[in-house]
């Protein structure tokens, strides 16, 4: 790999959220599981669907539940020729705001109908899934109302819905940025290059494009020594998801000679019980270099006297 290597990386952010529903949404989702649609009536007599816990006009609690639909009127719509991965229908369909019979507001959902039949004001009917779990997608979609409803497959579950799984996933392509890219290209040459602040003269490694203390751009590149001192450490003895090394191993702050900021890395080639503050170490490079800090496999002890605590106390 040379200087022209493209320093971009895919990145996925996922959260396995579960959400609690509260009493109003919970009852709405329970009604969907049971193959019915319920709205809520406000003190002023408006029927809201999908239900919310308060009247958006007044902030007052909503009153009783009212069954609405399953027939509805399309108020507006748009056509989806090529459905996205997260869309509820995977053939061409319409997203629409549909006003359910008996409701004073409209609800967003999918309408499955031929494109040429789509029109504002058209009558549609909710189509429920056979397997329902307590979700807005228990309504598979709406279809043109022919006056005949499909038989509902009954649901065995009777417990009210109080929570549900709501996993999220976002995908990114992250670029290293000019400052980090310059550092990572150095790593490909077995060099560790810091940056010096022109104002306070501190050397940052990994480099920062802007000095967090002074708020000015760092400008000067400083190739660093590859020997340093362990300023603090922790021995990892338990396994965890995503772990790369076999426990036990020591994670440590290593202050490279002449530098001002310690580098978080691993201390290896030594019994973890012998790792200590002030220990002198040097970088051990991997044979196959890649543009990440993992190209330094670990730091290993060298035969030099320990550095007294007084000299590293500002860098732990």
């Amino acid at each position: 790999m040379g200087a022209d290597v493209e320093l971009v990386s895919p990145f996925v952010l996922e959260y396995a959220y579960k959400r609690s529903t509260g009493p109003v949404i919970g009852r709405f989702l329970t009604s969907l599981r049971d193959g019915r649609i319920e709205g809520v009536r406000t003190a002023a007599g408006r029927v809201l669907c999908p239900p919310v816990e308060y009247d958006p006009d007044t902030g007052e609690d909503v009153q009783d539940f009212v069954e609405v639909g399953p027939c509805a009127t399309v108020l507006t719509w748009t056509w989806i020729d090529a459905p996205l991965r997260d869309h509820p229908v995977q053939v061409p369909f319409a997203f629409a705001l549909v006003q359910l019979e008996g409701a004073d507001t409209s609800m967003l959902h999918a309408v499955c109908a031929p494109r040429e039949d789509m029109a504002t004001g058209m009558r549609v009917r909710a189509v429920f899934r056979d397997e329902r779990v307590g979700s807005i997608t228990d309504i598979a979609h709406f279809e043109i109302d022919t006056g005949v409803s499909k038989d509902l497959v009954p649901n065995e579950a009777t417990e009210p819905i109080t929570r549900f799984k709501a996993p999220t996933r976002l995908e990114y392509v992250v670029a290293a940025g000019a400052t980090t890219a310059e550092f990572l290209r150095g790593v490909l040459r077995r060099e560790l290059i810091g940056r010096r602040c022109p104002s306070c003269e501190k050397i940052y490694l990994p480099p920062r494009g802007s000095c967090p203390t002074c708020g000015v751009r760092t400008t000067e590149l400083v190739p660093m020594a590859q020997k340093g001192t362990v300023t603090t450490f922790s021995v990892i003895r338990i396994p965890f998801e995503g772990q790369v090394l076999e426990p036990p191993y020591a994670a440590a702050h290593v202050l490279l000679d002449g530098g001002d900021t310690p580098l978080l890395h691993i201390v290896g080639d030594v019994d973890v019980d012998l790792v200590r503050m002030g220990m002198r170490v040097e970088a051990v490079w991997a044979e196959q270099l890649e543009p990440t800090l993992a190209s330094v496999r670990y730091f290993r002890p060298i035969d030099e006297p320990d550095v007294p605590y007084a000299e590293i106390r500002g860098h732990v």
Partner: protein, 344 residues
């Protein structure tokens, strides 16, 4: 209690571009804050309160706003706050903070990148998690349903929307801080296919990377904030009249109205939303709309609203007696802020 007079003392932005890969968060913040303070003739040590707007889902990393503080030189420790919203709401917080009376200068910034991931997917995640997000509805589809209501009620036409796009992109091409856009005549654009009927590619915002910064100061000159207010509507699109924006109308009234305003910078990502805002705010033909190209020509997440207020301040500096900056948040103009600036 009388409000303290707050002025826009400085404004700076990074050019909105399709890709600002070379900058990390701290580098963006370092550059715009230094430039805005220089524009105001102030030093970092003059700043009494700092507030920012950004979004971790947009930047793809937790606590990205905390990393961005490295660009500030926050030592000795500073008074600092953050909103997970457009920087316009950070400006509102700073305006309120200045009313406390103990500090006189506030630094406000927003930063965001469209190039890292999918801003559309982030907008879907911002929707109600019970009834909307599970449907995976994308923001263009939502905007299209709003645009259809507008067209079918006779408020606009697809051709008028195409003209709005042409004007915005032409103005954007004169603004060095907006990305270059290919200019086409409206008739040609109307031959393009729909992305989300009735919206075509030219009706959608140009999504960009960027950052902007405003310095607020009590006294000291520069465009004065005559009124600022923000109001929110119900989240559910089906609970609102989508052909107007009730909260934008109320926010303008709460900010004291648009009297004397000759320039309006509207945070209208979609062409159809410009039509809605002009109606909701009662802006006449004597008001120049989005001379910068607006958020339609350069739509940087968490930045486009703050930039509208900054651009309105520039309009006042350049001779407008009064100018209006608008910012929006939430689906289909749910939440709206109005900031009216006037010459001293």
């Amino acid at each position: 209690m009388a409000l303290r007079d707050v002025h826009v003392a400085g404004f700076a932005q990074l050019p909105n571009r399709m890709n600002l890969d070379d900058y990390d968060e701290a580098e963006m913040v370092q550059e715009i804050t230094a430039k805005a303070l220089a524009d105001a003739g102030l030093e970092r040590s003059d700043v009494g309160f700092t507030c920012s707007g950004s979004n971790d889902y947009v930047m793809g990393r937790p606590f990205s706003f905390a990393m961005a503080i490295d660009g500030l030189g926050a030592w000795p420790p500073i008074r600092e706050s953050h909103v997970e919203m457009d920087g316009a709401w950070a400006l509102y917080e700073a305006y309120v903070r200045l009313q406390h009376g103990d500090v006189d200068v506030a630094l406000v910034y927003g930063f965001g990148k469209s190039s890292l991931g999918s801003v559309d997917a982030v907008h879907t995640l911002e929707l109600d998690p019970y009834s909307l997000a599970p449907l995976g509805v994308d923001p263009h589809a939502m905007a299209a349903m709003q645009a259809r209501l507008l067209i079918e009620s006779g408020e606009t036409t697809e051709a008028k929307l195409a003209h709005i796009s042409c004007r915005s992109r032409r103005d954007g091409n004169k603004n060095p801080n907006a990305p270059h856009a290919d200019e086409a005549d409206a008739d040609a654009l109307l031959a393009d296919p729909y992305v989300r009927e009735p919206l075509r590619a030219h009706d959608l915002p140009v999504r960009t990377d960027g950052a902007s910064c405003v310095v607020l100061r009590v006294g000291g000159g520069g465009p004065r904030i005559r009124g600022i207010a923000h109001i929110i509507d119900a989240h559910q699109p089906g609970f609102r009249d989508l052909t107007t924006s009730a909260s934008a109308t109320k926010a303008l009234a709460a900010a004291g109205g648009a009297g004397g305003v000759t320039v309006a910078e509207l945070h209208a990502p979609y062409t159809s939303q410009e039509v809605i805002l002009i109606k909701a705010l009662g802006l006449g033909e004597d008001v120049t709309i989005n001379p910068s190209g607006g958020a339609h020509a350069a739509c940087t997440p968490m930045v486009a609203g703050l930039t509208r207020i900054g651009e309105a301040a520039l309009a006042v500096r350049n001779g407008a007696p009064a100018a209006l900056g608008h910012a929006t948040s939430g689906p289909l103009l749910q939440h709206n802020m109005i900031c009216v600036l006037e010459a001293e």
